[in-house]
């Protein structure tokens, strides 16, 4: 059985040899045409004239489409139909698609797209949080507010009070493979679309609406993406719809891929946030009351901003129990790219807010930030079998004062029943020698005037499930062929995370066969319908269970037949080691499949899964939105140069809870990648818009994702072993998003290093670029 084993990614060899096929690598039929968008050059205004004569006359141009040329729906929004594919008179941001050029080559289309003469009646653009608040430019009627207890009263009654503000920037997804789509016209107006998307069913839906077809007229296929990170949950809609409409009008295959600059200018990014806070606490740092106000720039269209901002609120507590809390969230409409899903989906932003508070409380009291974090942790719950953390590594029990039998409930009413961070944090602190190293860092700093070091441990508690409860479902289709080979299909998409491999491991376990006998086929809306996006870290949880159900149904059918023929009991049929044993009879799985086929047994089955026991009222802010929580903690040590602001991550130790890991190699890869991406968000990745609303950092020359040399020089990643108490697929836990939040340890370590330069609190904003670090150093030294 291959479940829980560290097998390599099924496409690893293809990835590293360059043989893995992405949308742009698919051989196209003859006569394939290429698309490019003409883009708005202003942030807000109305189009008074659009002269496309030069565009149409440009070499290689076959057709130019404007909003008026679209035969049916002009909409690519994943939510409230507020996002036209092509502008209908008003433009809302710099880069908005105004028209689509269809030409004989990619270059010809792009060149022609620049030749339009567009005149605008320019209107004032709303770009900043201040401008949006002043204009009351927002989504929903007003701010969402979740409260419990009397936060304000509790703060005022506290021995100590702090307040402050932290700004954190957005983040470009920087998937290696840019957005791409290919549409192939079929018989009688039907359309086949290859799309680099995390959400094939949505592409199918939007293309069907744009072509005036029922969903059965459109088939969407996704073999793999070169990275998604949430950036392909809704942002692929425009390319797929444009290609499908052009293919429908011209009768030719049509393809589109964004160049990197276009990709960065057109598509949405992570939501940037400003979080202001006020907290009251006792002498030990225990929070008595806490208030947050979240402001986020959602960009021009709603997209997925409401659930993103909701999730930020749902993670405002991170790992801490707050009796009295108030969270207010403003979802601001601005004339910028429509911010979208990005790994963590608002969760990391909410967590950064509370981690800043913990850091500042510790600074205020002169305590070790880890101690402040620990006194505020949720309690470890006891249960009948001796405590949930009991089966795990022997962890020191939390102090008596924290070990309470009182039920602990999140601000949104979900009971925390599986809190493992006391043991996990203690285990991590021991592994990385936290206390001794903190002393060593302080001593080293005392003798080092130019370089200063800092260290921090930050935890994560991350809620797993789509907060829109109905999305928590998945389907699968499994075939056993008469030669014993098995083909699997499910609604999840592969974006490098190893979902296919994990699911193949599940199937090979059910049939007791080797992985080489199992093939995952490209995700295809005609095989499994009505799927949810591969998002919210839920890919393996949902699709693994759906495939398990289908495989078990097939195994039962096979067992029934094989047992009946031999007058045995189906329950006694064993599938193991590539063999099937029925009493004394033993045969290969291949022979068993052939026998079942000849016995006229149906060897194809569907499977279905829906996450149990979840419910959520997002307006009231109450329910059980998450099936369970995933946990982890990271310890990072950094060094900063107080002359230049440069810094380096010297060492990071991570202990992360992936439940009983389906595949430790893939999970550790996700944890490493998530950490580095999270650290990049908070350090070097800076999005800069100018006062005209133009994104100035739209290429790798100006937008710096971490490179291999930026990873911690010492990087120890381990899994916190143990079963998920909930009955997930083989007791594993979701691992896609939670480790992203471990990158916060780098920001807090930088804050610690800056704090070593003077008396004031660093109040380091993110991204903490070398410039920001240098300014913070000057600030705490009082020579700003």
């Amino acid at each position: 059985m291959s479940v829980h084993r560290p097998t390599p990614h099924d496409s690893a060899r293809l990835h590293v040899t360059g043989a893995a096929r992405y949308v742009d690598d698919i051989p196209t039929p003859a006569g394939c045409l290429h698309l490019a968008f003409g883009q708005s050059t202003i942030a807000h205004g109305t189009i008074t004239a659009m002269d496309l004569t030069a565009v149409r006359a440009s070499e290689g141009v076959i057709a130019v489409l404007t909003a008026n040329d679209l035969p049916h729906a002009n909409d690519v929004s994943p939510s409230i139909h507020d996002e036209p594919l092509l502008a209908t008179g008003t433009v809302h941001y710099v880069g908005q698609p105004l028209f689509a050029v269809v030409a004989t080559s990619h270059t010809a289309a792009r060149k022609a797209a620049r030749l339009a003469e567009v005149t605008y009646d320019t209107k004032p653009a709303i770009l900043t949080i201040e401008e949006a608040m002043a204009a009351n430019s927002r989504f929903e009627e007003g701010p969402r507010v979740y409260t419990r207890g009397d936060a304000s009263g509790a703060i005022d009654a506290s021995a100590h009070v702090i307040d402050g503000v932290i700004d954190m920037g957005g983040q470009e997804h920087f998937y290696l493979e840019g957005q791409a789509a290919l549409a192939l016209p079929q018989d009688d107006g039907d359309m086949v679309v290859h799309s680099s998307t995390q959400h094939p069913s949505e592409i199918q839906h939007k293309v069907a609406d744009a072509l005036g077809l029922p969903m059965h007229g459109v088939k969407v296929e996704v073999r793999r993406m070169g990275g998604g990170f949430g950036g392909k949950e809704s942002q692929g809609n425009a390319l797929a719809v444009a290609c499908a409409v052009a293919a429908s009008l011209t009768g030719k295959p049509c393809k589109m891929r964004y160049d990197r600059d276009d990709d960065m200018v057109i598509t949405g990014k992570r939501h940037d946030f400003r979080i202001s806070y006020r907290a009251g606490f006792d002498h030990a740092g225990r929070v008595q009351g806490i208030e947050f106000v979240h402001y986020t720039r959602c960009g021009w269209a709603q997209d997925l901003s409401l659930p993103v901002a909701d999730r930020a609120m749902l993670h405002a507590d991170n790992a801490y129990f707050f009796e009295n809390i108030r969270i207010e969230s403003h979802r601001l409409r601005t004339n910028t790219q429509s911010a979208t899903a990005f790994r963590g989906f608002g969760g990391p932003q909410g967590i950064v807010g509370v981690e800043r508070v913990m850091d500042q409380i510790a600074h205020h009291l002169g305590l070790d930030p880890l101690e402040v974090r620990k006194v505020n942790y949720y309690a470890e719950m006891e249960s009948a079998d001796g405590g949930l953390s009991a089966p795990r590594a022997a962890a020191p029990l939390p102090p008596e004062s924290i070990l309470t039998k009182k039920k602990q409930v999140t601000p949104y009413g979900q009971e925390v029943t599986d809190f493992v961070l006391h043991g996990l944090t203690a285990d991590l602190a021991a592994r990385c020698d936290y206390e001794a190293r903190r002393v060593a860092v302080a001593e080293w700093n005392a003798g080092s005037p130019v370089l200063k070091r800092g260290m921090a441990i930050t935890p994560v508690k991350f809620g797993i499930s789509f907060t829109l409860s109905h999305l928590n479902q998945a389907g699968a289709l499994v075939h056993v062929y008469q030669d014993g080979s098995v083909a699997l299909n499910h609604g999840g998409t592969e974006m490098g995370q190893g979902l296919y491999q994990k699911v193949a491991q599940v199937a090979s376990g059910v049939f007791g066969i080797g992985l080489e006998q199992v093939r995952l086929t490209a995700t295809d809306t005609s095989k499994v319908p009505n799927t949810s996006a591969t998002a919210a870290s839920s890919g393996s949880d949902l699709n693994g269970m759906a495939v398990l159900a289908a495989c078990e149904a097939l195994r039962a059918r096979m067992a029934d037949h094989l047992a009946a023929v031999r007058q045995g009991e189906p329950a006694d049929v064993v599938f193991e080691g590539g063999l099937v044993r029925v009493g004394a009879d033993e045969m290969t799985f291949c022979a068993a499949a052939k026998e079942c086929y000849e016995g006229r047994v149906s060897l194809s089955a569907t499977g279905f899964y829906k996450t149990p026991d979840i419910s959520w009222d997002r307006i009231k802010g109450n329910g059980r939105p998450f099936y369970y929580f995933a946990y982890g903690a990271a310890c990072s040590e950094v060094v900063i140069d107080t002359l230049t602001g440069e810094y380096k991550v010297l060492r990071t130790d991570i202990l992360h809870d992936a439940g009983r890991s389906l595949n430790p190699a893939l999970d550790i890869g996700q944890i490493e990648g998530g950490f580095v991406q999270g650290a990049g968000w908070l350090t070097t990745e800076e999005l800069v818009w100018d006062d005209k609303g133009r994104l100035r950092t739209h290429a790798p020359s100006t937008y710096k994702i971490p490179a291999a040399s930026d990873r911690p020089k010492v990087f120890n990643v381990a899994l916190f072993e143990g079963d998920n108490p909930e009955a997930t697929i083989h007791r594993s836990k979701a691992v896609g998003e939670p480790p992203f939040c471990l990158g916060i340890s780098v920001l807090m370590a930088l804050s610690d290093a800056v704090a070593a330069c003077g008396a004031a609190y660093p109040a380091l904003d993110a991204p903490a670029t070398p410039e920001r670090v240098l300014k913070a150093v000057m600030r705490v030294r009082g020579d700003a």
């Binding site: 020359s701 490179a707 040399s709």
Partner: protein, 333 residues
């Protein structure tokens, strides 16, 4: 990429007219995005005698086709001119350094984003078209030696080290072979920023000549950038300093990513020469380093950064600071 003719030169006489290509690490990128659209490429990588590093007196003759990797890891270079090795390894990636050549590195084009964006005007790309960087974004632009027509900076690390080391360039041309100081290879942008060097049609860089290292000199290269690797310098400082009893008896400096060529400021060296090393001296010398105001508002930060980087580098090279305590690149967990 536009179609082009390709010719592989077998001998010097066989170097026909056309765009010369060696490693191609910069040229091919520029051709792909049609910033450069040569009609013909002349591949010189098969020319003999250009791939060796050989002693010349107490100095060194580096063939123009020696790759960046071979040069950085050469035992003679590492022993006598460690500054050069360090500067090369601070740039690009191993894959690029394996292909890029010594001659090509000197001739690499600027990384100004407007030079790369063919939809924007650029005097370097199209003389007379205008400069989008003036009034545009310009965090990577130059501080020194700019003109009203171009603000772009030279991006090389290697050339900065070579300048501090007093290198000469050997040029093979129609009238035989000549040698010029590396500083004189480059011409100021003035009103023709497309013209970057003194090379005429038919000229070929054949070697770089390093003079003997000053005995007892301490060499260093400090590159400040947005992340630890695979990023161009915001500013860099290359220096070689000789000390006798606490006094600076010889000093040679060059500054990178702050000018259209590796930049030198002789006044700084003159101020340091014959003086005992001290923080006060370095701070006074640093005040000579930055024009006020910067030619582009977004490069204002480079003025302070260059001064601080210069002081930090001088402290290391004169032994005022323990290297392990001030060089972030060497910090270990």
């Amino acid at each position: 990429m536009r179609p082009f003719d390709y010719h592989r030169a077998e001998t010097f006489d066989d170097v026909t007219s056309g765009q010369i290509i060696a490693g191609g690490t910069n040229l091919l990128d520029l051709m792909k995005i049609q910033v450069m659209t040569p009609e013909a490429l002349v591949d010189i990588t098969r020319l003999e005698g250009l791939s060796a590093i050989v002693p010349e007196g107490d100095g060194l003759r580096i063939g123009a086709l020696v790759t960046n990797s071979a040069l950085a890891y050469d035992p003679l270079v590492r022993a006598g001119w460690p500054l050069l090795s360090r500067a090369i390894l601070a740039g690009a990636s191993a894959q690029i350094r394996n292909k890029a050549t010594t001659g090509g590195n000197l001739l690499q084009r600027t990384r100004c984003p407007y030079f790369y964006d063919t939809s924007q005007p650029c005097n370097k790309r199209t003389p007379g078209a205008g400069c989008a960087a003036i009034g545009g974004g310009g965090r990577m632009l130059a501080l020194f030696g700019t003109s009203d027509h171009c603000l772009a900076a030279h991006p090389s690390d290697m050339a900065v080290a070579l300048t501090a080391l007093g290198a000469e360039v050997e040029i093979h041309g129609a009238n035989g072979t000549r040698r010029v100081p590396l500083q004189d290879l480059y011409v100021p942008p003035a009103d023709r920023p497309d013209r970057e060097t003194i090379l005429e049609t038919g000229d070929l860089i054949t070697a770089v000549i390093l003079p003997a290292p000053k005995s007892g000199s301490r060499q260093g290269y400090r590159k400040v950038r947005d992340r630890a690797s695979y990023a161009f310098a915001l500013v860099s400082v290359a220096g070689a300093v000789t000390m006798e009893g606490g006094t600076i008896t010889d000093v040679s400096l060059a500054f990178g990513s702050v000018a259209p060529k590796p930049w030198t400021i002789p006044e700084v060296e003159q101020m340091l020469l014959g003086q005992p090393a001290s923080d006060d001296l370095f701070r006074r010398a640093a005040d000579l380093l930055a024009p006020d105001p910067a030619p582009h508002p977004e490069t204002e930060y480079k003025r302070a950064l260059l001064r601080r980087t210069f002081v930090a580098t001088m402290r290391q090279l004169t032994g005022l600071a323990d290297t392990t305590g001030t060089d972030i690149a060497r910090a270990e967990a």
